[in-house]
C-alpha cells in the first residue's frame, strides 16, 4: 500500500534527511496515490486545515479501509483505554483538555511551569556533571532522554523508581505510531495492546493511591478534581495520564537532540548561543521550525467532501499533514533550509496549531532552552563523532537514537 514517495518517506534509509523528499512532495501540495492517504505538505494548506472544523481527529470518522498505513496503531488499544483528547473532537476534546489544563497552566495554575525552573536546572546540572568520559558521550542516553522523563514523572507524580518500567511502555507505544515494514502486524498489535494494558493497570494503581494521599503533582490534582462542576472519569484520567506520559517521553528528547545536532552542524550559532544565552528563546523556535520533533499528523479525516488546493478529498479519507514540510515551504519562509535563529518571521507549525496544538508547549520550550544553553555553556569544544547519527525507526516522532559526541572537557557548573 505504500507507494513511491510516501514509502520513501517512511523508508528508514531516508530518516536522517527527509527534507529533499518533502520538497519533492510539495510539488503536489495535495498528494494522493492509489488507496493511500491524502498528504498535505504546503504551509498555508496545513495551517488552514488545522483550523478547519470540517476535519475530525476521531478514528471512528475514518471510512472503512481508508488507506492509512498508520491507522490502527492506537485504536487497537481501545479495549484497554478510551481515546485520549489528542484523538477526540470537541466537545469531548475541549472538556478533557480544559480539565487537564487546570493543574498545568493559566488561568488556574499560571505558575506551574515557571515554578519548575529550579528543579529543571538542578536536573540539567546533575546530568551534565555525570556525563563521565568527555570523549565518549551519548547525548541521547545520558542527557536528552533522562531529562524530560525526569520532568514529566515529577510533574505527574510518578515515583522515580518506576521510570524504567515507563521507559519500556512508552517506547512500545511510540513505536506503534510508526509503520514498521518489517514487523508482523499481529505481533505488533499484541505488543502495543499489552503495553497499554500494563500502563493502564499501573496508572490505575497510582491514581488510587493519589486519591487517598494527594500531593502537589498533576495526577493528584486531576484525580481529586479542582472542586469544579466537571471531573474526569477514572478511564478518562487513565487515558489522559498515558497521553501526557508518552508525549513527555517521546517528543522533547528529539527536540533537545535535534537541537544539539543542529548546533554542532552550525558552530557559529553554537558560539553565539554560548556568548548570548538569551538567544536560546528564538533559537528553540527556529529549531521547532527546522527540525520539528513531530514530523507529521497522521490522524485527520474530513467529515464531508472538502476541497483543498483544487483537489476534492472525500469524506472519511485519511489525511496526513506534514508539519515538517510546511515548515520548509519556500512560499512561507525565506531560505527555508537555512537554520537562522535570528529569523523574525517564525510562525512555525512545529507545535501544531488550532485546538490540538501542543499541550505541553510551555514546558517543552523551557526544557529545550535550558538544556541547550547549559550544554553549550559547559561542554568544551563539542564535536559530532558521526554525522548523520543513527536514527530511531519512527518517521513521525523523528529523532536520533544516539548522538555520540566528544569534547575536550566539561566545565564545572
Amino acid at each position: 500500500m505504500k507507494q513511491g514517495i510516501l514509502s520513501d518517506i517512511l523508508d528508514y534509509s531516508n530518516r536522517a534527511n527527509p527534507y529533499p523528499l518533502y520538497a519533492e512532495l510539495r510539488k503536489t501540495p495535495v498528494f494522493h496515490d492509489g488507496d493511500g492517504p491524502y498528504v498535505i505538505s504546503t504551509y498555508h494548506h496545513i495551517q488552514s486545515l488545522l483550523h478547519d472544523p470540517r476535519l475530525s481527529s476521531e478514528a471512528r470518522n475514518l471510512a472503512a479501509g481508508a488507506g492509512d498505513p498508520l491507522a490502527g496503531a492506537e485504536d487497537e488499544g481501545a479495549s484497554a483505554l478510551p481515546p485520549s483528547f489528542l484523538k477526540l473532537d470537541p466537545p469531548e476534546h475541549d472538556r478533557l483538555r480544559r480539565m487537564t489544563n487546570r493543574p498545568f497552566g493559566p488561568p488556574d495554575s499560571p505558575h506551574r511551569v515557571d515554578d519548575m525552573r529550579g528543579f529543571l536546572h538542578t536536573t540539567v546540572t546533575g546530568l551534565i556533571d555525570n556525563l563521565g568520559d568527555p570523549e565518549r558521550i551519548d547525548l541521547v542516553d545520558q542527557f536528552a532522554y533522562p531529562f524530560p522523563v525526569t520532568m514529566i514523572c515529577r510533574l505527574l507524580g510518578v515515583p522515580r523508581e518506576d521510570e524504567a518500567r515507563f521507559h519500556v511502555w512508552a517506547d512500545t507505544l511510540a513505536a506503534s505510531l510508526d509503520p514498521d515494514p518489517g514487523a508482523d502486524p499481529k505481533e505488533r498489535e499484541k505488543t502495543t495492546h499489552d503495553a497499554r494494558m500494563e500502563l493502564g493497570m499501573y496508572l490505575a494503581g497510582l491514581i488510587e493511591e493519589r486519591r487517598k494521599n494527594p500531593g502537589e503533582d498533576m495526577l493528584s490534582q486531576l484525580a481529586v478534581g479542582h472542586g469544579q462542576d466537571e471531573t474526569m472519569s477514572t478511564m478518562e484520567l487513565l487515558s489522559t495520564a498515558a497521553l501526557l506520559l508518552i508525549a513527555g517521553h517521546e517528543t522533547t528528547v528529539n527536540l533537545i537532540t535535534n537541537g544539539m545536532l543542529t548546533l554542532l552542524r552550525n558552530p557559529d550559532v553554537l558560539r553565539q548561543l554560548r556568548e548570548t544565552p538569551a538567544l536560546a528563546v528564538p533559537l528553540v523556535e527556529e529549531l521547532l521550525r527546522f527540525e520539528p520533533p513531530v514530523q507529521l499528523l497522521p490522524q485527520r479525516t474530513p467529515l464531508a467532501d472538502i476541497e483543498v488546493g483544487g483537489v476534492t478529498i472525500p469524506k472519511g479519507s485519511s489525511m496526513w499533514l506534514i508539519l515538517a514540510s510546511g515548515n520548509r515551504d519556500p512560499d512561507r519562509f525565506e531560505n527555508p533550509d537555512r537554520f537562522d535563529p535570528y529569523r523574525k518571521d517564525i510562525q512555525h507549525l512545529g507545535l501544531g496549531s488550532g485546538i490540538h496544538s501542543c499541550f505541553g508547549a510551555p514546558l517543552a520550550r523551557l526544557e529545550a532552552q535550558l538544556a541547550l544553553t547549559e550544554l553549550t555553556r559547559r561542554l568544551e569544544n563539542p564535536r559530532l563523532v558521526e554525522d548523520p547519527p543513527p536514527y530511531r525507526q519512527n518517521a513521525v516522532l523523528r529523532g536520533p537514537r544516539h548522538l555520540r559526541i566528544t569534547c575536550d572537557g566539561v566545565r564545572p557548573s
Binding site: P53, D89, P91, G354
Partner: protein, 463 residues
C-alpha cells in the same frame, strides 16, 4: 535615481499626524520605517504619549495594572516633534496648514488624520457634570473611574450595554460591586451581534449578578445638594439609587475641527478611498491628506464597496500602516486597505471574538458548540453568503470562518463540522434591531455609498 518629488518628500518633507493614539503612532512608525527622513509632527489633544485603550475597561478597572501603565510599546524611535495637550482646531487645505487650539499653525506636505472618536456624553449637560457621572474613553476617564470603584461605591449604574458597558459591568461584578445595567434594546450587544447572541449576553450578565434592565431608558440623573449623583430615573417610571453612573452610549467621531474645511468629514467620519486618501466634500479624492483608524470610513470590496467605519484596534493598526505606506508611494505602488473587520472583548470570564460584519447578517447559525454552555461559534448570513462570525470561548476556529467570509462562501454552511449540536442544524433570524432606531452598540457601521456626508446638488451642464 531621478530626484522625484517623492524623493524630495522623503528627504525633506513635512508630515503632520493629527491624533496621537494607536493609529497615529503606528502610522508615524511606519513612515520612519519606510525611510521618511523629513520632519514629523505629532499633534494630540490629550497630554499623554500614545497609550492603549482596551485595558481601560478591563484590567485597569480590576486594579490589575493601572490606567497610567498602558503606554503603547514603541516599535521604533520616530524622532517626532510632539505637540501634546493641544487639539487641532482647523484645517486650511489650500494653504496646507493645521490650526491648533492655542493659535499656532503647523504647515504640512502630507497630513495623516487619526483623530479617532470620543465617548458620547450624557445628553443633559448639567446631569452629565454631576460628581460620580463618568464616561470611559481616555486614560483620565479610566483613572477617575478606577479610583471611584476602589472607594467601594454602593451601586454603579451603567447606561448602555454595548461592549464597553458590558465590560465595565463585568469588572464591577468581579470586584464585588453592585451594578445595574440599563439598556434601551432588549438585550446587551444586540447592535453588534443581534438578538440571538444578545440573549446569551443577557444570561451572562444575570448569572454574574448584574441587575440588567432592558427595553428601558434612563430619563434623568439626579444629584444631591452637594452636586453628587444620587439616583437615576427610568422610562418605566421607576428610579434607582446609585452613587456612580457610567455613561456608555457609544462614540462620536472627532471631526468637528474639520467643519468648514472642505474635507469630506462629518458625524459618520472622514470618507477616504481604499488607499486611505481623504475625499473632499465634492467627492474628489485629495492627494496629500490621508486618514486612518476609528475616524475613517472607507469602501470595502467584501461588503459591496459600502463605506465602512470600524472602531477596532487591529483595523487602526493596519489602516495606519497602509496610509503611511501610501503617503510615501507613487500611485502604482499604493496598497488598498482591505482589512477584514475583527474585534475581541472579554467579559464575565468569557472571551468574545468576531470577524466580518455580523450586523449585516439577517440570519445566524450556531455551527459549533452550544449557547447554553457559553462556548460556541455563530455564523452570520446575508443574501446567501457568509458575512460574519462570532465566537464565545471558541476563537481557535475563527480563522476558518474569516476565510469563509473572504471567499464569500455560501450561507447556510452546507457542510458538517465537529461539535455540531441540535441547535446548529438550521439558521435562525439574527434579530438585529431596526437600523433606523439609533443604537450605541455596533462597532462596525455601514454608512452608504457616498464619500461625502453633505448633499450635493447635481446640476447638468447647460447646452
Amino acid at each position: 535615481m531621478a530626484d522625484t518629488a517623492l524623493d524630495h518628500l522623503k528627504a525633506n518633507g513635512r508630515i503632520v499626524v493629527v491624533g496621537a493614539s494607536l493609529a497615529g503612532l503606528r502610522g508615524a512608525e511606519t513612515l520612519r520605517e519606510k525611510g521618511f527622513k523629513g520632519s514629523l509632527t505629532m499633534i494630540g489633544d490629550e497630554p499623554y504619549e500614545p497609550y492603549d485603550r482596551p485595558p481601560l475597561s478591563k484590567q485597569a478597572l480590576l486594579g490589575m495594572g493601572t490606567a497610567e501603565g498602558t503606554a503603547l510599546p514603541r516599535r521604533r524611535d520616530i524622532d517626532a516633534e510632539w505637540r501634546l495637550g493641544v487639539a487641532a482646531s482647523g484645517l486650511d487645505m489650500a494653504a496646507r496648514r493645521v490650526k491648533l487650539a492655542d493659535g499656532d499653525e503647523v504647515p504640512y506636505d502630507r497630513l495623516l488624520i487619526a483623530t479617532g472618536v470620543r465617548a458620547r456624553p450624557w445628553p443633559n449637560q448639567a446631569e452629565g457634570e454631576l460628581d460620580g457621572v463618568f464616561v470611559l474613553r481616555t486614560r483620565d476617564d479610566g483613572v477617575a473611574l478606577a479610583r471611584r470603584l476602589d472607594a467601594g461605591p454602593r451601586r454603579v449604574l451603567v447606561i448602555g450595554a454595548g461592549f464597553t458597558g458590558s465590560e465595565i459591568a463585568s469588572a464591577c461584578r468581579e470586584r464585588g460591586v453592585e451594578v445595574t445595567v440599563a439598556e434601551r434594546a432588549d438585550a446587551p450587544l444586540v447592535g453588534a451581534l443581534g438578538g440571538v447572541i444578545g440573549a446569551v449576553a443577557a444570561e451572562l450578565h444575570r448569572e454574574n449578578g448584574v441587575d440588567l434592565r432592558t427595553g428601558i431608558m434612563v430619563t434623568a440623573l439626579e444629584g444631591d445638594s452637594t452636586g453628587r449623583v444620587r439616583a437615576a430615573h427610568f422610562s418605566d417610571g421607576t428610579s434607582l439609587e446609585c452613587d456612580v453612573v457610567v455613561v456608555s452610549l457609544g462614540a462620536q467621531r472627532n471631526t468637528d475641527w474639520l467643519a468648514g474645511s472642505g474635507l469630506g468629514a462629518g458625524p459618520r467620519g472622514i470618507a477616504c478611498d481604499a488607499g486611505c486618501r481623504a475625499f473632499d466634500i465634492r467627492g474628489i479624492v485629495t492627494d496629500d491628506i490621508f486618514v486612518a483608524g476609528d475616524v475613517a470610513r472607507s469602501p470595502h470590496p467584501l461588503f459591496g464597496y459600502q463605506f465602512l467605519s470600524l472602531e477596532h484596534w487591529g483595523n487602526a493598526v493596519s489602516q495606519a500602516e497602509t496610509a503611511a505606506h501610501n503617503m510615501l508611494s507613487e500611485s502604482t505602488d499604493r496598497r488598498p486597505h482591505i482589512w477584514v473587520p475583527a474585534f475581541w472583548s472579554s467579559q464575565f470570564g468569557v472571551s468574545i471574538k468576531s470577524v466580518g460584519v455580523p450586523s449585516m447578517g439577517t440570519e445566524i447559525m450556531i455551527t459549533q458548540g452550544s449557547r447554553a454552555e457559553r462556548r460556541f461559534t455563530g455564523v452570520y448570513g446575508y443574501q446567501g453568503r457568509v458575512i460574519g462570525a462570532v465566537t464565545f470561548d471558541n476563537s481557535r476556529w475563527l480563522q476558518f470562518y474569516q476565510q469563509q467570509i473572504e471567499a464569500t462562501a455560501p450561507f447556510p454552511p452546507p457542510f458538517p463540522t465537529v461539535d455540531r449540536r441540535p441547535e446548529g442544524q438550521k439558521p435562525l433570524p439574527a434579530d438585529f434591531p431596526d437600523p433606523s432606531v439609533p443604537t450605541h452598540g455596533p462597532t462596525v457601521t455601514l454608512s452608504g455609498y457616498s464619500p461625502a456626508d453633505r448633499r450635493l446638488t447635481f446640476t447638468p451642464a447647460g447646452h
